[in-house]
Symmetry: C2
Subunit: 393 residues, 2 copies
């Protein structure tokens, strides 16, 4: 199996992008990835597009994006794994290079969420739980799903609403420093506590927004990486898991089993022995504040019931035990579904290469970073581990 490098990354500006079509957004990210890597479209053997797209009028996003990005007639397909679609696309591109079927493969993720000609975005996202049972019969939508986790967690471990709020405050702080973030306004705990309830105990400011945006990553084998760039970042492990879509079938609402499995698989592939001491920086799936706290625990960075303390004690800021979501996260940077997993990888490449700079730049000492991306409410989980070091060929 070939080693696989990320040689170029790009991210569009996130936000309510009524100024750009889906294909234009994709190009904004992909163009940056081309420039970052120095490759041109002709060097790319195949590409893949991640997009959930239930709200889009465009039924076949991959070809439309590919054509606008100058990639037709390269082989392509669309990948969907709910909110983990971008990570799934990265996995497919990784397989193409790892297997030798491609020397260079691109993954482009995009979501134009504000364009909904069909049922509303909130209704459609609600269907991304379990449509037939939980959505149609009980009217559960996504804030409701995560509220079940938040209430169970608070009840079991004594966490408070203000502890959850710490995650939002941190992610808005870093979002304020990220020129591509959807929200660039700093907030404090009292702002979060004063915001209106969406599904108790989750409030508006515990929730990630409906965001348009795109991200792109170009992957290459060792030879091509050497040919094009001096600064690749290597994929060291990708772990995946899936879980039941029926919350009623889950053992508890205190962890996402799929994420635990994905993390362990990724650690095994990458040879990570102690996840508490391996990573300089992480991007995790904070669609709601409670989700980021579960992530610390599912990744085994802390024990069960200790995640909220990390947030409370500011151990997930720069300089802390595990700086997390220095991009602003889904919460403040935004969560254009198909783009999110690739935006995480793009951020991590720049963090490890110390290209972010300023207050958002993590201290890079170990040269390892981690992305944790959830689809649905743990329907899918992807954990991707990247490193400055190539590992054994």
């Amino acid at each position: 199996m070939n080693n696989v490098a990320m040689i170029g990354v790009g991210i569009s500006r996130f936000g309510r992008r009524t100024d750009a079509r889906m294909d234009e957004l994709a190009w904004e990210a992909f163009k940056e990835a081309l420039e970052d890597s120095g490759v041109t479209q002709k060097d790319i053997d195949q590409f893949v597009v991640s997009n959930l797209g239930g709200w889009s009028s465009e039924l076949l996003p991959a070809v439309v994006v590919g054509e606008y990005c100058g990639l037709a007639p390269k082989p392509t397909m669309r990948i969907e794994a709910a909110c983990a679609s971008g990570s799934a696309a990265a996995y497919h591109a990784y397989l193409a290079v790892a297997s030798g079927q491609a020397d260079i493969a691109a993954a482009i993720g995009v979501e134009k969420m504000s364009e909904s000609t069909l049922p509303t975005t909130v209704e459609l996202i609600g269907r991304a739980g379990n449509f037939f049972w939980e959505f149609e019969n009980f009217g559960l939508t996504f804030p409701g799903y995560y509220a079940l986790y938040a209430t169970a967690y608070m009840d079991k471990y004594g966490a408070k609403e203000e502890d959850l709020a710490e995650v939002a405050v941190k992610n808005h702080y870093y979002g304020s420093l990220n020129p591509k973030a959807h929200f660039r306004k700093r907030i404090d705990v009292s702002d979060v506590l004063r915001s209106r309830y969406v599904a108790w105990p989750l409030k508006l400011l515990d929730s990630s927004p409906v965001t348009d945006g795109a991200a792109a990553v170009i992957f290459a084998n060792s030879d091509k990486a050497k040919q094009f760039v001096d600064d690749p970042v290597w994929i060291r492990g990708i772990g995946m898991g899936s879980g039941t879509s029926n919350l009623s079938k889950r053992d508890d609402f205190l962890h996402l089993e799929a994420a635990v499995r994905a993390a362990r698989r990724a650690y095994a592939q990458a040879g990570v022995l102690d996840p508490r001491r391996t990573f300089d920086v992480a991007e995790v799936h904070d669609c709601f504040t409670i989700a980021e706290i579960l992530a610390y625990e599912d990744l085994e960075v802390v024990g069960r019931g200790e995640g909220f303390k990390l947030a409370k004690e500011h151990q997930v800021y720069k300089g802390g035990m595990l700086p997390t979501n220095l991009s602003g996260g889904l919460k403040a940077k935004g969560h254009p579904i198909g783009a999110t997993g690739l935006a995480m990888l793009a951020e991590l490449k720049r963090q490890l290469r110390q290209e972010v700079g300023g207050e958002r730049q993590a201290d890079i000492k170990k040269g390892w970073a981690l992305a944790h991306n959830i689809g649905g409410t743990g329907h899918y989980a992807y954990v991707t581990i990247v490193s400055l070091d190539k590992g054994a060929e």
Copy 2:
């Protein structure tokens, strides 16, 4: 790169399946694939689900299907490449095994097309051309797209409507012999000519139906193939291509450029020197009769302008130059979008292993077969070559 075998295949009954939900349809096919291979769910490292699904209320088909098939919590994702989604899923599973990331991987394709709670199926399929330009501005739907090809072809080469009809007659004949086909009624050329126009010169009986159905293929590396089955069929090459979604940008309406590229790539990987003399049997993408005729030519089985003669001279029946769509094809077996590419591979495994039997069984002399699967109107093309022979490891 590991060799990759198909060790088990399954197909649900195709048709208007109001008796089964999407996940139940998927299980009908997957259960057969498990039985065919002797593997159980625990042996499968990862799976992938192909589904277009714009008409479904279920936004995340892969998890729902995976759970019902007993595959959760295995890693998964959904793959979409329009009407070539099943082939794209096969490609992903192939990469997973070829790269060594999985020993055994399953691809399950399913489409419940008769369940549309959103805009109508015909409208949604129309969007699978180019939504913003051709569908919204000109109202082109799929029969219209292919009618442009049919008129150009007839004008250039002198083919007649009755020549196109020959494809429908053949495919209905074989469909009548396939217990899983949607349409099992034989028709003759006059039936086709008397059926009503959908988009001149294409008539109702030139068109594939709206069909529910599922198909599944289990892929394995050499070691696992040997462990579980005596009769694997090997993937020898997969070629892919994409094309512009704007028909207005195509050079002509006489060929699908993406299909030509996909075929040449597949031939190169498989070492096929003369496509006219290599294959015992083929499954090609006959969404409309003209599409099957273009397929003969795009696959370089005959020269340009000669495809319609193959049909006319019955060279694509059993015993002819290239027996094609002995399953009944999309035309009569039906075209449940996410399932189609996998149903083609399932049919070819059974054909090569001479398990079909009777009038539908091709004579197997060379041990090679080919699947040709188009997404959109040539937006995507996949050509997959399979063989009884494993090839070099």
